[in-house]
Symmetry: C2
Subunit: 273 residues, 2 copies
């Protein structure tokens, strides 16, 4: 079984996050993961260039996970090295008053990738079944309908040439304590800390239940979820890079053939010495 198959949430199954060891690193050693990342990133960059040239498919990487799970760090490690001209990163925050006047997928749809692009969602439409549920920002009938609405929306995207890669960065409660603590200790990192992180941490189990339901309900054949054990950053980076690369390889992008007469173009160019 490949690494990415091991991380897959098989459609129709229930996710139990407590049964997945956040410190695990299935199938790869620390040394191999650290040394193996750069070649993966290089091949991602190479294939991204071809994806861009072909303008046929797009890739959408969705990163979810609780505070400190490493969403920012994953983007930095996996996608630095890729031409930023082809990459569009969106961090979804608390919706603005204007966004709230629309359906929850309105602002999301606007940031999906055009053909030839890689888009990254740092948090996503899944916040509307995570925080909205746990904080009771909408009635249950509203957020519960969203599982289907999300699946329909993601099907539209995949049917329109967008390959989705959905990664849930799974960290343990102990690891989160370590990371929040490290942020408080280092004046250079304090800006990353917010008191709101603690309010969220206090509801750990309620969030876990919300994560598990969404991962179970919205892991589909067209857009499956992957749970990435993320206590070890080196494993997290290697695993997400592997998923991105595997997806790009499966799209097998090729620069398009000339849409003009090459001999004619050559002649015309030579008259313009």
């Amino acid at each position: 079984m490949s690494l990415t198959e091991q991380l897959l949430v098989r459609p129709g199954t229930r996710v139990d996050l407590r049964a997945i060891d956040a410190r695990s690193s299935p199938g790869i050693s620390e040394k191999d993961a650290r040394q193996g990342l750069a070649p993966l990133v290089e091949e991602i960059a190479r294939l991204q260039y071809r994806l861009w040239a072909e303008q046929r498919h797009a890739v959408l990487l969705v990163l979810e996970g609780t505070d400190t799970s490493g969403k920012d760090g994953t983007i930095r490690h996996v996608l630095s090295g890729v031409n930023p001209q082809g990459v569009l990163v969106t961090s979804f925050k608390v919706p603005t008053p204007i966004e709230l006047r629309h359906d929850f997928l309105w602002r999301i749809h606007a940031r999906t990738p055009g053909r030839g692009r890689i888009a990254v969602f740092n948090r996503s439409h899944y916040q509307d079944v995570f925080v909205v549920r746990v904080e009771s920002l909408a009635p249950e009938a509203v957020w519960r309908a969203r599982y289907r609405q999300i699946n329909d929306f993601e099907r539209l995207l995949t049917e329109s040439g967008v390959a989705l890669i959905k990664c849930f960065l799974h960290i343990s409660r102990e690891e989160q304590h370590e990371r929040l603590s490290a942020r408080l200790d280092d004046p250079e990192k304090q800006w990353k800390f917010s008191m709101g992180d603690l309010a969220t941490r206090a509801k750990w189990d309620a969030y876990r239940a919300a994560f598990e339901d969404a991962l179970s309900e919205c892991s589909t054949e067209h857009a499956p979820w992957h749970v990435i054990p993320a206590d070890r950053k080196w494993f997290r980076n290697y695993a997400v890079a592997s998923l991105v690369l595997e997806t790009l390889r499966s799209l097998d992008p090729h620069p398009p053939a000339a849409d003009f007469d090459v001999t004619e173009a050559r002649r015309a160019l030579d008259t313009l010495r």
Copy 2:
């Protein structure tokens, strides 16, 4: 005189592109430029992270130059390696019908960087005094007024915390022939060629005059132009990276201090073991 001072268009002076050797590489050898690029990019990435943390200033890199002058390649070489979460690249194409219903700066303004970001314009509002002038897409009174409108707009940006870096990639007519020719020869590169490139090349002198006027009229104290000799890609990359790095250094970004009581936060965290 520093490298970047040598490339500067001193405000109030006339640019004569024929007097600037596109094959030159003032002040640096090929070996030093090639070896020196990676450390520049690394420091750009480091300072970009602090710019992002501080959320106080923004950087806007404007890349102009004729077809094949290397705008895409510059972005790839100078900004791959920087976290794409902090970089927003926009390639301005022929305006859409909706864009044409607005003033020429409308679509441009929408893509300027928010605090903490680096934006890159691959072509820009200067197309509205280049192609619009040469192809007579607007009356002279309209495009001529744009020099002032551009200067006013760029002053607004700089007064609002955006540092502008404007680079004109200057290639020779011979070098363009080489590069177009190479695109025609290589099936992997043919997609980059368009017959329109030849129509533009046929008007080389008219474009040169338009470039010279804009570079002269719009090199201001707040947003000066730089002319980058760009026949040598290694010099072009090194020079643009130097300009970006110099700008980031001058902004001297620092992560902000905690906006909460650290002792209190530590106590609250420890109650949530």
